[in-house]
Every structure is written in structure tokens, then in C-alpha cells.
Amino acid sequence: MLGFAAALGAWHLTTAVLRLPLFERITPPVTVFREWFNRTPAFGVSLFTPVYYEHIAYSVYRAYTAFFLAVLLGVPIGLLMGWRQRVYRFTFPLLETLRPIPPLAWVPLAILILPGIEPPVIYVTFIAAFFATVLNTLLGVLSIDRSYFRAAECLGFSPRNVLVHVVVPGAMPFIFTGLQIAMGLSWFALVAGEMIAGRRGLGYMIFDAYNMAQIPTIIMGMLTLGLLGYTSSALVRRLGRALMAWRGV
């Protein structure tokens, strides 16, 4: 809580009280919150306008669709790559070639290949979350002590049992780090995708506000995104904690 207060204080101090040279064009917190909680907002977006919730609904829908698709595909692929050396050798270089291609570099192509407005934005978001999930899952499997595999073999584990009792639990901490990053990346790519290609959503709202020089609305959008992102990663973290009870964090 102290961290929050300090940040708010610094924001207020730099913009409203001291008016430091770089900060002169940033709106002080009071103005932003007054706009946010206003029934008749000066720039048309606040807690009391339906359009605000419409933007949120669109962004949430896109982010979660892409995230779940990425997890559904990324975790199994990552496990397989880490577990089977042959799969790793054939696919890792390809993964590493495609992975650094920024999701946003896919925007023009996605628009050309995929029909409509939603699929390109969701695809771009998916790409971002997918690679983070695969990479972290893979690293998780690689981080498992080799002796566990040898022990499992000595005990005559079937491949299925190795997967269930060694690979998955061993990689679990990394997987959930990966999912948290993937969740963050989903929002990251989503916002940029919406800025470039979207017609609705919070990213579009921010960029639209920027073009109209409505700074309170920009900050409102950023804080809303932060809140949504925080809630999302908190959910992922809680799930991780529930599934990894043995670590007793």
C-alpha cells in the first residue's frame, strides 16, 4: 500500500506541485480521477458511460481467447520439445527463427490472410502468448534434474508415467512463470494490435484519445489496462499456487 501511495504522491508532486520541465504536459492525478468518476465526462469516457465498458469487453474477450488458445497449444508443444530430444532438435531452430518476429509485424499479413477484424487482432495476441508459453515450458522441462529421469527409468516407468510424474510436475513452476509472462504479453500485443488495427477496445481508446489530445482519457485507459492485466496475472498466479501445493509458497 505504501508503494501505491508513494507513486501517487510522486505523480501529484511532479505534475501539480513542482511542475518539473518534462512533466508539464502530463495531467495530475486529481484531474484524471475527476474525469474517471464523472457522470458527464468532458471527453466522453468515464465509469458512467457504456462506451467505456464496451471497450473493456472487447479487449477482455480478445485477450482471453488468444491466451487460452496459446496455453492449449503451447504447453503440450513445450513439454514435448523439452522431453523428446529429437523433437527439440528439429523444431527449436524453427521456433527461435519465428519467435523473435514481433507479433505486431504479423499485423499487415494477418489482415491480408484472415477475414474480418477480430481474427487478425486475436491472431496477433495469440502469437505473442504462444511463444512465451512454449519457451518457458521447454525451459521448465530442461531444468528438471536428469537423475529424476534415470530414477524413473530404473523403476520401470512407462513414458506416460514419466510425463505425468516427472515432466509435468517438474516443469510446473516454469510453466506458470511462462503463463504469467504470456498473460502480460497477450495484453501487450493486444493493445498495440488495437492501436494499429482495432476499431474498439482499450488500445484503440488510448490511441484515439491521443489523436484528440485527451490526456486524462489516455491515462484512464492505461490504468484500466493495468488493472485488467493485474487481475489476469493474479488469477494465473492463484491457479499456479493451487496446483503446486507441495511448494507451500
Binding site: Y88, R89, P100, L104, P173, T177, A192, I206, S233
Partner: protein
């Protein structure tokens, strides 16, 4: 030279190339068959021809240089601040509870959502882009380092403490070695992220140079082959940079057995 020869003889390299070749072949064949998804997409050969012409243009290499410079600057600052902060947050409970909420509030704000505000904040576009890259690298590194410290088995700490270790010993003998894999994971993921950000920021902020700008121009001009060349260039740039990080990580954590 010896290294190169050994590399050429290793099966792993050829298998990796085979994976990539298969992907390209599927793409080429798909284009030749006029699959609906690939209708507007040039084949790998056409992209290659485009690449051949680009390699001779000064502007292409200028784009590499400009984007690379931005990435390097933002990344170095991000890692330089992120690693110590993550370690401090992992080691000190007080510092953790004071700063973690703040990090958690700012981190989920996607770096690119900062672009409009940064443009207003920083006097030059160059500073805007570097600051956005910094944000991306910084939070990724902090989160990974923190996760690494928290993943350390408590018994190591207890054992060290019961043998009379000072906090400084804990740091050098336990926390830093145990966390270094996470540090390098964070650095590698952060490196991938910086290339994403530089390109997107260059597209959104409409700055007059860089690979992202080149791609945006190609998009506006309808030159799809050049779009793909840009994508591949950025991919290559990211591959080289993250390869560098992995190499560094492997050298500095020799006790981790890798396949």
C-alpha cells in the same frame, strides 16, 4: 574455423535446418497450389528475390543500425536496473512489500500503451522509443529474477544460516548462483520483447527510420514481399541477440547440464 567445422558436422544443426526447410517447402508448395490462406502471400522464392535487392540498398542496413541502437540502449538500461531490483525484492521482505505492489501496478500496463504518454513526456521521439524498450525489458527481467529467488529451496538458506552465514554470503553463495538461470531466462525473453517493441513503437510513433518504419512503409505501399523481408530481418536480429544472451548464460552457468 575449428568451431565452424564441428558445427557443420553436428547432427543437431542439420536437423534444425531440416525443420526450417520443411516449413519453407510447405509454404512454397502452398503458394503454388493457391491455397486460400496464402492467396496474397508471396512465395519464399519471391521473398528471397526481394531480399537480394534489399541487401544492396543502403537504407536497409541503415534501418538495421538505427533499430539495433535503440534496442541496445533500452535493453542495457532495463537489465542494468532490473536485475539488482529483482534480487533486492527477492532477498528483502520489507523491500518486497514496499515495491512489489507498485511493480505489479505498472507492469501490466503494456509498454506500447505508454507510447502516447511518452511522446508527450519526452522531448524527442528517440527518447520515447528507448524508454518504451526499457520498460519492456525491465519488467520482464524483474519478474524472472524475483521468481528465481523465490524458487530457491528454503533449506539452502536455513543450512547456510545455521552455519553462521552473513547476508552477504547468502547473496554470493546461494542467491546469485541459484538465480542466474532465471536471470538469463529473463534476459532472453526480454531481448525478444525489445525487438517486438522497437518495431511496434516505430510503426505507431511513425518515426523516420528503423526496421519497423521500413515495414510500415512496405505495408502502406502494398509491397508484401518487403513486409516479409522486414519480418525476417527482425526475426534474424532477435535470433542473433537472443543467441548471444543464451551463449553468455551457458558460459556463466557451466554447472547446469544442458542437452
Amino acid at each position: 574455423m575449428g568451431d565452424l567445422a564441428r558445427l557443420a558436422r553436428s547432427a543437431a544443426v542439420w536437423q534444425g535446418l531440416a525443420g526450417i526447410a520443411l516449413f519453407l517447402a510447405l509454404w512454397q508448395v502452398g503458394g503454388a497450389l493457391h491455397l486460400p490462406m496464402l492467396r496474397h502471400v508471396p512465395t519464399p522464392l519471391e521473398v528471397l528475390i526481394q531480399l537480394a535487392t534489399q541487401v544492396h540498398s543502403r537504407q536497409y542496413w541503415q534501418s538495421w543500425y538505427v533499430s539495433g541502437q535503440r534496442v541496445f540502449l533500452g535493453y542495457v538500461i532495463g537489465v542494468g536496473l532490473g536485475v539488482p531490483l529483482g534480487l533486492a525484492m527477492g532477498m528483502s521482505r520489507t523491500f518486497h512489500s514496499a515495491s512489489f505492489p507498485l511493480v505489479e501496478v505498472l507492469r501490466p500496463i503494456p509498454p506500447l500503451a505508454w507510447v502516447p504518454l511518452s511522446i508527450l513526456f519526452w522531448p524527442t521521439m528517440e527518447q520515447t522509443i528507448v524508454s518504451i524498450i526499457f520498460l519492456g525489458a525491465f519488467f520482464t527481467v524483474v519478474l524472472n529474477v524475483l521468481g528465481g529467488v523465490e524458487a530457491i529451496d528454503v533449506n539452502y538458506r536455513r543450512a547456510a544460516l545455521s552455519m553462521g552465514a552473513r547476508p552477504w554470503h547468502l547473496f554470493w553463495k546461494i542467491v546469485l548462483p541459484a538465480t542466474s538461470p532465471s536471470i538469463f531466462t529473463g534476459m532472453a525473453v526480454g531481448m525478444g520483447l525489445t525487438w517486438e517493441i522497437v518495431v511496434a513503437a516505430e510503426m505507431i510513433a511513425s518515426i523516420q527510420a528503423g526496421l519497423g518504419f521500413m515495414m510500415w512503409q512496405a505495408y502502406v505501399g502494398g509491397n508484401i514481399a518487403l513486409i516479409i523481408v522486414s519480418m525476417a530481418s527482425i526475426g534474424l536480429a532477435g535470433l542473433l541477440s537472443s543467441g548471444l544472451i543464451w551463449m553468455l548464460g551457458r558460459r556463466l552457468t557451466p554447472w547446469l547440464r544442458r542437452t
